[in-house]
């Protein structure tokens, strides 16, 4: 092998990146060639010199700035954990709304079957309608509705519907007549078994009727629709209103360099919010931002290290006070530069703007 080929292999030789065969060839050549041996020595020194170039340290604000940007990018999303484990106070109304939604949907599904149902199973149809007058009736009147469905359902087709009390009377008056009309197809409903079955069903139906606000029969479809819309609204609303909402206010709007600035953070939402636990504004969870000449907000370098942050739970309307010590803030330990500031607590929570003036 000639020296040129050998010298081209020296770099890989230094790194131990040659095959065993190539390595052997180079070693053999080096034994007898001082020129190539010198070249190897120079190359080794060169690599050593390059390796010795000192590294620079990352400035302490770099990680802070990165994290601030990343936090501001993050969509304020709730974790699955928190979604599943809402406090009962919030969860129960959601579940109640869901129950109403199910009830309303069930009513819609049952509706197309009504004509047949009405004839074949009059008492059960009553469970929906029977509610209307029942609140004003004495408890022992529970057996009364057993016959009413037979009468009430045909009335449904009438253009205008009487109010519930009128209907109640109308039912009583027309009872004899209507029941005789339907007698052929409907088995007599007033047997003891039917009665008990009915009263049971009435109870079950109670929750349905409540959601429909005990409206007169003819109103039902529209009421049901609006309830449906309401229920849908609940579902939609379930996503929006539970975002963490913090309000952050400073204890003034004008400060002097070196002042301690108190920041009161209040949970304005209806559920618990987790905030950083601590007394002082820490670069790990809050960013101090200063308005630059062009009116853009720029992060100011906080000198505290971003440590692992303990969390504290802020109940609704509960407040926590942080302090930003403006003295010794800058990297050089000089007081904060005069200007307009705000503090960014993450998740799009900012304090009011405030001014820091030069101390005289």
């Amino acid at each position: 092998m000639d020296c040129k080929t050998i010298q081209e292999s020296l770099s890989a030789f230094i790194d131990g990146a040659l095959s065993a065969e190539e390595k052997l060839l180079v070693e053999e050549h080096l034994k007898s060639c001082s020129k190539c041996g010198e070249a190897l020595g120079d190359l080794r020194k060169t690599v050593e010199r390059v390796r010795q170039i000192e590294e620079v340290e990352a400035p302490p604000w770099l990680a802070e700035k990165i994290m601030a940007r990343v936090r501001s990018e993050r969509p304020p999303k709730r974790g699955l954990f928190r979604t599943l484990f809402y406090p009962l106070r919030i969860k129960l109304p959601i579940e109640a709304c869901a129950a109403i939604l199910i009830a309303v949907v069930a009513m819609h599904i049952l509706k197309p079957m009504q004509p047949e149902m009405r004839l074949a199973k009059a008492p059960s149809e009553e469970t929906m309608k029977g509610e209307t007058p029942s609140p004003v009736r004495p408890p022992d009147d529970v057996s009364m509705p057993s016959k009413k469905p037979d009468v009430a359902m045909p009335k449904k087709e009438e253009p205008s519907s009487p109010s519930s009390s009128e209907e109640g009377r109308g039912l009583a008056e027309g009872e004899q007549h209507e029941s005789s009309r339907l007698k052929e197809s409907v088995p007599a409903p007033a047997s003891p078994e039917n009665k008990s079955q009915l009263s049971g069903k009435t109870e079950i139906g109670g929750s349905h009727a409540e959601s429909a606000k005990a409206a007169p029969p003819a109103m039902k479809p529209s009421v049901a629709r609006s309830a449906d819309a309401l229920a849908k609204g609940e579902v939609k609303g379930g996503e929006a209103p539970f975002e963490p909402k913090l309000k952050a206010l400073t204890n003034g709007e004008v400060f002097i360099q070196g002042d301690d600035i108190s920041i009161t953070v209040t949970n304005m939402s209806e559920h618990n919010v987790e905030i950083a636990d601590g007394q002082f504004i820490n670069s790990g969870f809050a960013k101090v931002e200063k308005k630059d000449d062009r009116g853009a907000w720029m992060s100011v370098e906080l000198f505290t290290a971003a440590n692992v942050i303990a969390k504290r739970t802020l109940k609704p309307r509960e407040s926590h006070v942080y302090i930003w010590r403006t003295a010794g803030l800058s990297r050089n330990g000089t007081p904060v530069v005069p200007g307009i500031y705000r503090i960014n607590l993450g998740d799009q929570t900012y304090t009011n703007n405030f001014e820091i003036k030069e101390s005289r």
Binding site: D15, D42, L43, V56, A58, M67, E73, G79
Partner: protein, 201 residues
């Protein structure tokens, strides 16, 4: 050295947590890699400010795209490849900017050090020796900076940052044989540059 690195990714756990939105895990990765990334970007661009900016951009980009990171390469390889790409782009922009200013394009890149550079303080090293050492380092840096981009890249990754040939192959998407030959030429060029400046090594 020249051996195949184990494919198991030491950052796998943190990366998985990041994908679930764990910011603390992300911050741990920032703390782990920012210095190395900063130094690569600094040697690539020659500007501390640009390098800091590049590191920020890379991490924000990593945060946005970590969901799509499939772990075919190691996490560290992936992020350093982004650093390299961004540094190259930034260098182009800087050169374009420079060309509009009355400076020669042939001027070597400023090899400035960051303001936070830490000089090891040792009582045994005299002030003169330290100055000499500093001067020597400045010279080596200038020689590296004077290399063409493709050669500078491999010497930064291999000799300054100690990445393996395989990692460099993954980062730069060039065959390992090319890594080897480029590195050889880069080292030879730096060697000649130093020899010309100092007479001998």
């Amino acid at each position: 050295m020249w051996h195949r690195e184990m494919r198991a990714d030491e950052d796998f756990e943190y990366v998985s947590l990041c994908k679930k939105g764990d910011l603390e895990a992300f911050e741990a990765l920032v703390q782990k890699y920012q210095k190395r990334m900063l130094n690569i970007a600094l040697r690539m661009t020659g500007s501390y400010e640009e390098a800091c900016d590049i590191v920020q951009e890379v991490f924000v980009s990593v945060y946005r795209n970590i969901g799509g990171f499939e772990g075919r390469a190691k996490f560290s390889t992936w992020i350093h490849a982004i650093v390299m790409n961004l540094s190259r782009n930034r260098l182009k922009q800087m050169k374009a900017r420079l060309s509009q200013e009355p400076f020669s394009l042939d001027d070597p890149l400023p090899a400035e050090d960051g303001p936070l550079r830490t000089e090891p303080v040792s009582g045994e090293v005299s002030a003169l020796e330290r100055l000499e050492k500093k001067e020597l380092q400045g010279l080596v840096q200038r020689c590296v900076s004077a290399l063409d981009g493709e050669f500078r890249e491999v010497i930064i990754l291999r000799d300054m940052q100690g990445f393996s040939y395989e990692e460099i192959h993954d980062m730069l998407k060039i065959p390992q044989g090319t890594v080897k030959s480029r590195l050889s030429r880069a080292r030879e060029a730096v060697k000649d540059c130093l020899k010309r400046a100092m007479g001998e090594l």
